[in-house]
Symmetry: C2
Subunit: 453 residues, 2 copies
Amino acid sequence: MSGPSEGLDEVTPEIVRQIEEALADGDSAEAKQLMETLSPTGQASVFEQVSEQQRDMLVALLKRELDPEMLAELDEDVLEDVLDQLDTKDIAAVARGMEADDAASLIEDLPEEEQREVLAELPANERAGIETALAYPEDSAGRLMQLSLVKVPDSWAVGQVIDYCREATDLPEDVYDLFVVDPAGRLRGSVPLGRMLRTKRPVSVLDIVDPDISSVHATADQAEVAHLFRDKNLVSCPVVDDDRRLLGVIMVDDVVDVIDEEAEEDLMKMGGVGADDMHVDTLQTTQRRASWLGVNLITAVIASLVIGQFETAIEKIVALAVLMPIVASMGGNAGTQTVTVAVRALAMGELTAANMFRFIFKEVLVGGLNGFLFAILMGGAVMAWYGDIRLGLVIGAAMICNLLAAALSGTLIPLGLQKIGVDPAVSSTVFLTTVTDVIGFLAFLGLATLFLL
Amino acid sequence: MSGPSEGLDEVTPEIVRQIEEALADGDSAEAKQLMETLSPTGQASVFEQVSEQQRDMLVALLKRELDPEMLAELDEDVLEDVLDQLDTKDIAAVARGMEADDAASLIEDLPEEEQREVLAELPANERAGIETALAYPEDSAGRLMQLSLVKVPDSWAVGQVIDYCREATDLPEDVYDLFVVDPAGRLRGSVPLGRMLRTKRPVSVLDIVDPDISSVHATADQAEVAHLFRDKNLVSCPVVDDDRRLLGVIMVDDVVDVIDEEAEEDLMKMGGVGADDMHVDTLQTTQRRASWLGVNLITAVIASLVIGQFETAIEKIVALAVLMPIVASMGGNAGTQTVTVAVRALAMGELTAANMFRFIFKEVLVGGLNGFLFAILMGGAVMAWYGDIRLGLVIGAAMICNLLAAALSGTLIPLGLQKIGVDPAVSSTVFLTTVTDVIGFLAFLGLATLFLL
């Protein structure tokens, strides 16, 4: 969909295969030529699709010709792997000419020693910008901001500003808003470039400035920045210090990356994967996943300890063993539904102290209604299947208990975790399934012991 | 973080409570005044936090004074509820003066009859814009685009363009790029406003145009649009028809909403919730959730049919009933991890025919390694717990089988669903847990029957 001179975005499996073959045949020229037909995005996609070994060969082939834009598109784990193949001089060569914020995020994960070496290779003015960015905490507004922006004194008239823009050669191409500052460098507001263009030359910039624009502090977390861009539909947002002095500007395209990253994190956390581990090697992936499985093993063992308490009942009525996973599993699924809605609503700020009780009440009601529905379904089926009315009543009652427990714990667990400062996306489900397994087995086997033996 | 004159963004539970109290006391003036202290975003947040009844009271209170920006921020289900309270004249009053794309998305879910009535209330020029937008399929680029943009003929010089911009009164404020078209209205490229400003007046716009800019077809899906903005770091993107005639422009802030929506959808689907049902009434929520639970019930019943085949084994060794959920649950969790990574990688285009086999191979290896690890752990624990070496060996072997099955089905199921055109985010997990439950119970109880009886 983009013009041909930028190179192809869409990487077909066919192209990837051709590149892989060229690498396997040792035909570097061919591989290089194939890569050059691709846009930075396309190249990044190839880097993410080939094997680690082939990726290393590509890095060795391209070295300093690696496209900075391509690197900026790479998945974090893949980038780390690419940088591992480069020495500090190569990295510096690539970082040269990048925006300070992009260069900072390129080298932020390098060991400190190596960071210093890379910085030493860069011209003083570029180094300063990157060092400024690195001085802010990771994932902060200070890291995201770019330093190049158009800053004009509040004493100027529109004509002066226009002349200044026409004469200055080092202004960024992607200027959308001009920022107006007072003599101390404090932000007075912004003027959209389009408005500037349409105003008569003698008018003072202060007459057309938006004084109430949103701004963020340099130490604000990137999630907060993303929230602001989203709520206010911003295209750019100035970054200020404690005294409201203008430090830089964050552009929306960097925020889109942040939003993507956070959405991905939420999904991965809910799925029990610490991070996107597609590009991490097998052993490391195994390790990362094992720790989560270990936590789940504890849950499963707790559930099985509960079952262990009812060995006699199961020995007498073996149907209990056949039916008990149904009760536990329905509770787990219903609880996951509630947790998913709660976690998302908490993240979006839609679930607060103001509507917490209403939310819990509604979820419990939904749980009760669905409990009742599936109690009838399952109870009826069991009566028909085993010809035992009391067994049907027991499984029905257990179903209602467990779906109510699922609704209660599906709301209270994420709310409680949020309250004590633990990310509800990570750990809600494991606590939840512990509850629904334990209550599921306990209710079903307990009621069976009471009424059937 | 924003200036005071725009109103507060942050809605504290205290403010919500004050508004709720004012409504309960019938003090409309107070409630209205409290709402007026809030920004559109803040007001939307209140609408999402109060009960349905209170929301209806707020709508009745504000009617035509409802802020269009606030409505644009509302969750879809809440918006629907708000529109239900308004008659077509009220809706038309609110829609008047909105951008055509926003107005179209305001009324797109209304019944056709009502849509026509609203449109009839609007001035002809606004109506035409909205009708144009509505003519495109929902979730297409044509719906997202705004019609107001700056379009200049390719025969103009920079001076002419600047004069035109200075004189035209109806130009949008948020202009970032000017679009250059040929006499037939076909897109020739774009010029960033900043570059225009810095170019000498006699230069032809064709000399400074970017000819290779990205564009999308009006019928392109919004997910595709979001992908393009993300990959190319765009701020705006022109929308064209079959003949590459310029129709409108999509701005990044609308795309941010799309990205958010799609991320939310993925999360909700994986959690077994059809859509964000926080703002839907209890009965409807119950219904939506029940259908998913019904599907899961079938899964659970299939698993329990498998257990039913081994009643004799369980009767003889009741420990089997105690331990079997552990094997099934570990498989389910390991499989969910794999599915999560696969679904995300498919959505991001990182998993393709080119690296499919490498991906499957790696997942199976990870599954095997973790299977081995947990086989030793669980096998050892069971030997210690029950003092039965053969039971330990059986559970260990079953664990390895099930984690391998989890890895295989965790990759093959989403890949297969994608292949046949079914959204893997929705249905992967339910198929997966069917497999891991069945294989878990079958392997454990089957091996036990073979070796322990």
